[in-house]
C-alpha cells in the first residue's frame, strides 16, 4: 500500500509540474514566434511528457553515477556507443555511394541504420568466422572458467578476452562460430520455409476453389498445435531415426522447422495473393491465356515483394529463436558445434553470481545478448521497410 501511495504521489507531482511547465511557457515571451505558438498550442500531456522525461533522465543519472550499478552502466554505455556508431554509419551512407543509395540513406531513420549496421556486422562475422575467430570452436585449453575482461586481478586472462567455458574453450571464438551455425541454419531454414509457403500460398490464391480449401485446412491443422511442442515432438522422433548421425539430425531440424514456419508464410502469401489476384492486370493476363507459372512468377510475385520481405525479416527472427530454444533444450544443434542457445544453457548457472561478481554473470549474457541484439536489429529494419512499403501505396 505504501508503494502504491508513493507511486501515486509521484504521478500527481509529475502532472502538477507538467501543468506548471506549460503555464510558465505560455506566460514567458519567447524571442522566436514559433516557440510562442508551440507553447500556446501545447496539449497538457506534452507538458507532462517533458517533465516525465526529466525524471527519467535523473533516474539514469542516479543509477549511472551514484549507484554505479555495473549492468546498468554496461547497458547505457552500449546504448551510447551503438547510437554514435549508427549515426556515423548513417552519415557515411548519406555522403558515399550512388545517387540512389544516398537518397535511401537520407530518408532512413536512425533505428534502421542501426539495424542494418548490426546485420552487416553479423553477416561478416558469420561468413568469415574461420578467419576472424582467434581459436577453433572445438579447441580446448587447460584454463577453465576464465572470466571475461582479460584482467588477471579479476580472474581474467588477456589471451581470452571473453573468457573460457567449463571445458576450457575460448568463448570469443565460440561466440563467432556460434553466429555462423545459428544464423546460417536459421537463414537456410527461413528460405526453405518461404519457398514452401509462398508457392502454396500463391497457388491457393490463383486457383482458389478446392485446392485452396485443402491446403488451408491442412495448414490450419498444423497451426492448431503449439509450435515449439510440436517441433520438440517431431525432433524427438527424428532423433530416433537419425541415430548417431549428427548431421542428419540438423537436416531433420531444418526441414521440420521450415515446414512448421511455412504455415505462417502460407497464410500471408495467400492473403497478399488474393489482394493482387483481383486486380485488373491479372484478369488481363488470364484473358490473354497466360499459364499458371507466368501468372504467379511474373505478375503476382513482383507485387508481393514488400510484404514478403518484411515477413522474411520477422520469420527469420522466430526461426532463429526457435533454433536457439531447441538447442537450449538440448535437441537442436549438436555439440561440439558452437551455438548461442547451447552456450546460454551451458553457462546459465553463472547468472546466480550476478550480485558478487558481475563479470561471472556476464558469461551467459554474452550469447543471450548476441541473440537479443540481432532480433532487435532485424525488427528495426523490418519496421522501416513496412513503413516504406505502406507509404508508397498512395
Amino acid at each position: 500500500m505504501d508503494a502504491f501511495l508513493w507511486y501515486l504521489s509521484w504521478a500527481v507531482a509529475i502532472g502538477i509540474f507538467g501543468w506548471v511547465f506549460r503555464f510558465v511557457g505560455q506566460k514567458v515571451q519567447w524571442p522566436s514566434d514559433k516557440l510562442n505558438v508551440y507553447f500556446r498550442d501545447m496539449p497538457l500531456m506534452v507538458g507532462i511528457g517533458f517533465v516525465f522525461g526529466l525524471v527519467i533522465l535523473y533516474v539514469v543519472f542516479h543509477y549511472y553515477f551514484i549507484d554505479k550499478s555495473t549492468f546498468f552502466r554496461w547497458a547505457v554505455q552500449g546504448f551510447v556507443i551503438f547510437a554514435i556508431t549508427s549515426w556515423l554509419f548513417l552519415a557515411l551512407g548519406k555522403h558515399v555511394g550512388t545517387q540512389a543509395t544516398r537518397k535511401v540513406f537520407r530518408q532512413m531513420p536512425l533505428t534502421a541504420a542501426f539495424g542494418i549496421l548490426i546485420i552487416i556486422i553479423y553477416a561478416i562475422m558469420s561468413i568469415f568466422a574461420g578467419v576472424i575467430a582467434p581459436y577453433g570452436q572445438e579447441e580446448i585449453f587447460e584454463k577453465i572458467n576464465v572470466l571475461p575482461g582479460g584482467d588477471p586481478a579479476l580472474g581474467g586472462d588477456p589471451r581470452f578476452p571473453l573468457g573460457t567455458d567449463q571445458l576450457g574453450r575460448d568463448l570469443l571464438s565460440r561466440l563467432i562460430y556460434g553466429g555462423q551455425n545459428t544464423v546460417g541454419i536459421a537463414f537456410v531454414t527461413t528460405i526453405l520455409a518461404f519457398l514452401i509457403g509462398t508457392t502454396f500460398g500463391f497457388l491457393a490464391a490463383t486457383l482458389s476453389g478446392w485446392f485452396d480449401q485443402a491446403v488451408s485446412r491442412v495448414v490450419d491443422a498444423l497451426m492448431a498445435i503449439p509450435q515449439l511442442i510440436f517441433a520438440l515432438l517431431l525432433l524427438t522422433i527424428a532423433t530416433a531415426w537419425a541415430g548417431s548421425n549428427k548431421e542428419l539430425i540438423t537436416v531433420y531440424m531444418i526441414v521440420i522447422i521450415a515446414v512448421l514456419d511455412s504455415t505462417r508464410v502460407f497464410r500471408l502469401a495467400r492473403a497478399v495473393g488474393f489482394n493482387i489476384v483481383v486486380m485488373d492486370y491479372i484478369e488481363a493476363a488470364k484473358l490473354r491465356g497466360e499459364n499458371l507459372s507466368y501468372l504467379i512468377f511474373r505478375e503476382i510475385l513482383p507485387n508481393a515483394y514488400a510484404p514478403l520481405l518484411a515477413e522474411f525479416g520477422l520469420r527469420f527472427c522466430f526461426v532463429f529463436l526457435t533454433i536457439a530454444a531447441l538447442s537450449f533444450l538440448g535437441i537442436g544443434i549438436q555439440p561440439p558445434l558452437a551455438d548461442w542457445g547451447t552456450m546460454v544453457r551451458d553457462l546459465a548457472q553463472f547468472i546466480n553470481f550476478a550480485q558478487f561478481s558481475p563479470h561471472t554473470a556476464a558469461l551467459p549474457l554474452m550469447a543471450a545478448g548476441a541473440i537479443a541484439l540481432l532480433t532487435v536489429a532485424v525488427n528495426f529494419v523490418v519496421d522501416w521497410m513496412l513503413h516504406k512499403s505502406s507509404g508508397l501505396k498512395d
Binding site: D41, R106, Q107, A284, L287, R288, P302
Partner: protein, 553 residues
C-alpha cells in the same frame, strides 16, 4: 442574417506539398472572397488544387501540405494564427465539410443519427433529444425516404445517394455559416446525382448558408453556384458570375473546358441485316452464384461500329462484358464471334479466339502491373499472340506507342507510376491493340479521367476505329460520351435490355420511360436546367423515387 456581408476572405495564399524530399507549390497566391449566403463553384482538373484551396478556407492543410504565406479570415477571425481551441470551436459548428465519398466518411460502426448528433452535443448547441428531432426534420427537408427511421440505420443499410444527403444533413446540424462540398456527387449515378443536387441546392438556400462547391463537372457547377472560379495547376484562371462565365468565358483555358462537350462524330449507317456481326450476344442469361444478373440479353456488334451499353451501376452492363470475355459462364444463351459460337469459359477458348477480343479497363491504375515497364506491358501480348521477339518485338512496341501518340524514346522504359492518368489509359489501349484484335471492350474507359483528357482518349479511339476497322463495345454511364462516340445504343436496367437502336433514334423521343429518365438526368450547361427540370418532372419524380415508381407500375 444579412446577405452580402463578407464571410471568408483568403488573400494571396500559397500552399506547398511535400513530395520526394522537396516542397512543391500546390496553390500560388490565390485570392478567394465569399459573402454570406453565396455559393462559389471551384472547378478545375485533378491536381488543380481545388480541394486544397477548399480546405484552406477552414484554415486547414492536409498532412504533407503547409500554408506558406497569405491570410485566411473567417468572419473576421484570422484562421492561420488562431490557436487550436478557437479553430476547434469553429469547425463543425460554424464551418462544415462534406466529402466526396459519404460511404468512406461515415463510421460504419455507428448509426447515422448518432453521428449526426455528435457535433451539436459536443459544441453544446443542443441536447441529444433536440438534436435528434432536428435531424429528422433535416432528413425530411432533404427528401430522404422515411425520414423518421432512416437515421436509425447503419451507413451500409442506405444507398449511396441517400448517404450523401444524410451527410449534407449532418453538415447542417449546427446551422453553419459555411459548408465546403468536395465533389459530393462525383461517385454517384446520374439519376441519383440529380436528387442530391436538388436537395443540396434547396437546403443551402433555405438556411442562407454560404458554400464552396468543388467539382470538375461544369454542368453541375452551373446549377449550384452563384459565382465560378476556375483553377489550373494552382493558379486562378478567371472568376465571374455563373451566367457571364457560361456565356462569355474570357480565357482560352476556360473556353477549351467549355468546348470539350462539343466533340461528336457522324453516326455511321446501321449495318445491313445480312452482314455477319463480329460479336453476337444471343439470349444471354447469367447469374452470380444464385443471384440472377442478366435476363435474356441480346445485341449485335458489327465491324467498324461502336455499340454503347448504357445503364446505372448494378444494371449488368459490366456483366455482359464478363460473359463475352468468358469470365462468367452464362446459364443460358451464347456468344458468337464471326458466326462461330465461343466456348463459355475463357480457359476453353483458343489463343486465336482470345486474341480477337481485347479489353480496356476503367481504372488504368489497377489494369497495368505497377512493377512492369511499358516495354514489357505492351511487349508481352505482341510476343504472346504474334510470336515476335527481339528487334521485331521492339519495333512493334514502338509502332504501337506511336499509334497512341506517346513518344517511344521517352516512354518505353517507364513504370506505370511515372505516367499521368490519361497516359496510363493510352497504354491500356496500346496493350489491347498489341493483340491485333477485331473487337475491343471499353469498360468505362473515360470515367476516371478529366474532361480534356477524356476527350483526347475518345478521339484516339475514334481514329483507331477508322484506320483499323475495330468493333467497340463501349460500356458507360455517361450519356455525353455516348453522344460523342457511339453508332448504336443499348440501354440496360436490372439486367434487361430496355431499349436498343441507332444513336439518333435513341436521342429523339419517344423513349422508354427509363431512357427518358436517364436522358433528362444528365446535367446541362444551362444554369436554369435543374429548376426547369424540377418544374417539369416534379420533385418526387427524379432519381431513386422515379425508379421506384417505375418498378411499381
Amino acid at each position: 442574417m444579412n446577405t452580402g456581408q463578407l464571410l471568408v476572405k483568403i488573400e494571396k495564399i500559397v500552399i506547398q506539398g511535400r513530395s520526394d524530399e522537396q516542397w512543391l507549390p500546390i496553390i500560388n497566391s490565390v485570392d478567394l472572397h465569399l459573402n454570406r449566403g453565396e455559393v462559389l463553384g471551384l472547378i478545375g482538373e485533378s491536381g488543380a488544387g481545388k480541394s486544397t484551396l477548399g480546405l484552406a478556407a477552414m484554415g486547414f492543410a492536409r498532412d504533407g501540405c503547409r500554408i506558406v504565406s497569405g491570410t485566411v479570415e473567417f468572419d473576421g477571425i484570422d484562421l492561420i494564427s488562431a490557436d487550436a481551441q478557437t479553430k476547434r470551436s469553429l469547425l463543425g459548428s460554424r464551418i462544415a465539410y462534406v466529402a466526396q465519398s459519404a460511404a468512406a466518411s461515415f463510421n460504419p460502426a455507428h448509426k447515422i443519427i448518432n453521428q449526426h448528433t455528435e457535433a451539436p452535443i459536443q459544441h453544446g448547441i443542443s441536447s441529444r433529444p433536440e438534436s435528434e428531432k432536428d435531424a429528422i426534420e433535416l432528413y425530411r427537408r432533404l427528401r430522404l425516404p422515411t425520414p423518421d427511421e432512416i437515421g436509425f440505420r447503419y451507413p451500409h443499410q442506405v444507398s449511396g445517394g441517400q448517404l450523401q444527403r444524410a451527410m449534407t444533413a449532418m453538415a447542417m446540424s449546427c446551422r453553419p455559416d459555411l459548408i465546403i462540398f468536395d465533389e459530393p456527387t462525383t461517385a454517384l449515378d446520374v439519376t441519383t446525382q440529380i436528387e442530391v443536387l436538388a436537395a443540396i441546392r434547396d437546403i443551402v438556400k433555405q438556411f442562407n448558408t454560404a458554400a464552396i462547391y468543388i467539382t470538375h463537372d461544369l454542368a453541375v457547377v452551373a446549377q449550384m453556384a452563384d459565382r465560378i472560379k476556375v483553377l489550373l495547376k494552382g493558379d486562378e484562371v478567371e472568376e465571374s458570375g455563373t451566367d457571364s462565365m457560361l456565356k462569355d468565358p474570357k480565357e482560352d483555358y476556360t473556353k477549351s473546358l467549355w468546348a470539350v462537350r462539343s466533340f461528336t462524330r457522324e453516326e455511321k449507317p446501321l449495318a445491313s441485316k445480312e452482314e455477319m456481326p463480329v460479336v453476337r450476344v444471343r439470349n444471354v442469361t447469367a447469374a452470380y452464384a444464385k443471384i440472377p444478373v442478366l435476363h435474356d440479353v441480346s445485341f449485335d456488334i458489327h465491324a467498324s461500329r461502336t455499340v454503347a451499353v448504357v445503364g446505372e451501376s448494378g444494371s449488368g452492363k459490366s456483366t455482359v462484358a464478363r460473359c463475352i470475355t468468358g469470365l462468367l459462364k452464362p446459364s443460358q444463351g451464347s456468344i458468337e464471334f464471326d458466326g462461330v459460337p465461343l466456348p463459355a469459359d475463357y480457359r476453353q477458348r483458343t489463343v486465336e479466339q482470345l486474341k480477337q477480343a481485347q479489353m480496356i479497363y476503367q481504372m488504368a491504375d489497377t489494369a497495368l502491373n505497377p512493377r512492369k515497364r511499358i516495354r514489357e506491358i505492351i511487349g508481352r501480348p505482341v510476343e504472346f499472340y504474334l510470336g515476335l521477339r527481339g528487334r521485331k518485338k521492339e519495333e512493334r512496341v514502338r509502332e504501337l506507342l506511336d499509334q497512341i501518340e506517346l513518344d517511344p524514346d521517352q516512354f518505353i522504359d517507364r513504370l506505370p507510376s511515372e505516367l499521368s492518368g490519361g497516359q496510363k489509359q493510352r497504354i491500356g489501349i496500346a496493350r489491347a491493340l498489341a493483340a491485333d484484335p477485331k473487337f475491343i471492350i471499353c469498360d468505362e474507359v473515360t470515367s476516371a479521367l478529366d474532361q480534356l483528357v477524356a476527350e483526347g482518349i475518345l478521339k484516339l479511339l475514334a481514329r483507331l476505329q477508322d484506320s483499323l476497322g475495330l468493333a467497340y463495345m463501349f460500356i458507360t454511364h455517361d450519356l455525353a460520351t455516348v453522344r460523342a462516340i457511339s453508332d448504336e445504343v443499348v440501354v440496360m436496367k436490372d439486367g434487361r435490355v430496355v431499349e436498343a437502336g441507332g444513336k439518333t433514334a435513341m436521342f429523339t423521343p419517344p423513349h422508354h420511360e427509363y431512357t427518358s429518365l436517364l436522358l433528362s438526368s444528365v446535367p446541362e450547361m444551362d444554369p436554369n436546367w435543374l429548376t426547369e427540370l424540377l418544374e417539369q418532372r416534379g420533385v418526387d419524380n427524379i432519381g431513386d423515387a422515379a425508379i421506384d415508381r417505375m418498378n411499381q407500375a
